[in-house]
Symmetry: C2
Subunit: 218 residues, 2 copies
């Protein structure tokens, strides 16, 4: 996964030979994710993906089999990015609250970007049962990691007693929703949106007010 | 709108003549909403709606023109229910925090039911531009009412200073998400889910801890 490639056509410039296929495949997936996010899965055709990359439709088939495979991969990548971010936050130094805050922050930023947004806006629903099952399994893992952090915070007395399962759903829900309405071309800055939402949610979970976790004034 | 009619076929029993058409139309919309929520909009056909109501497909055309009109109406009804609930909460007695709490509570309950769930799970995206625009206008009104309550709470010093627009999005997001994952046939009780999510979110907004708004222990 090369996180920095935008949907500009990589056919235009020379790329180190060995990485060429992976980079181009990522460009196909990313262009498709952007189109899915903008027009919806059903309204997006492979012709539109090819056009955005200024290649022919047959060229796409060198990298992907069909639209369903593209969606599966986009959603899988979105889930993978979230899983990595939460695992990294959980493994970092600091208190459980620091870890939870970092995990929430990364989660929210990821859903404002191509693959994360595709996970939220389209998701696994249009896929056949086998693909749906696989992606739901990954989602459940993710949910489990969030819940474990909350359970730990409650056990340590840092978070107020609550049902960790419902609290994890509430957090993931509020953060996921950002990916549903956030417009990368719009006037709001992703970072500001994420800071504010995370602050409100974290305050809601804390056992006692804690100045450094306070929501910042508008 | 008759809120209590389930998707059992109303053709089976006698109904007061004058209301008959409205009741049957609502049954068509409600059955369709349930199918959209379960299988997705694109995978649901008018044949499936007819079958669930044990009528023929041509019978449906007496009440609705096509699948797109059905979705428009389901989403419009979902938005209308939310708008009514928030307006009612805002007009009720009590403090601004009481009103906000009541509005959040009702919002969350509505998205666990047929039309509210359809608004969240399917939404206006599959519709043609004119329908989409109309529904987005209704959504913006709803958002405005939530925001007004938050602004009032901040002005009164009951809520901590924050960006009311982002706070409204965070609330609506977390509450909407309940409609995305909540399974009416599942083991969780809607009321418990709603209580817990509302408590966490409200604590996150409050200017100071307030025992009667605390999240209840698990």
């Amino acid at each position: 996964m090369t996180g920095v490639v935008t949907a500009q056509s990589p056919w235009k410039r020379a790329i180190e030979r060995g990485e060429q296929r992976a980079v181009k495949r990522d460009a196909v997936l990313r262009a498709a994710a952007q189109l899915f996010n903008e027009f919806g899965y059903h309204a997006t055709s492979l012709e539109m993906v090819a056009e955005r990359l200024r290649v022919t439709k047959p060229t796409l088939y060198y990298y992907v089999r069909n639209k369903e495979e593209i969606l599966f991969e986009c959603v899988r990548l979105g889930l993978e990015l979230l899983r990595e971010a939460i695992a990294e936050a959980a493994a970092s130094g600091g208190t459980t609250v620091d870890k939870l805050k970092a995990a929430m922050h990364e989660y929210a930023l990821i859903v404002t970007r191509d693959y994360g947004m595709c996970l939220i806006r389209v998701g696994e629903d249009p896929l056949a049962p086998a693909g749906r099952r696989e992606l739901r399994r990954l989602k459940a893992e993710l949910d489990h990691e969030f819940r474990a952090l909350i359970e730990q915070g409650i056990a340590e007395g840092e978070l107020a007693p609550c049902d960790p399962k419902l609290a994890a759903f509430t957090l993931a829900g509020a953060l996921s929703w950002i990916g549903r309405w956030y417009d990368p071309e719009g006037p709001l800055d992703a970072q500001a949106v994420v800071e504010q939402s995370t602050a409100i949610l974290l305050r809601g979970l804390l056992a006692r007010p804690h100045s450094r976790h306070e929501a910042s004034a508008a």
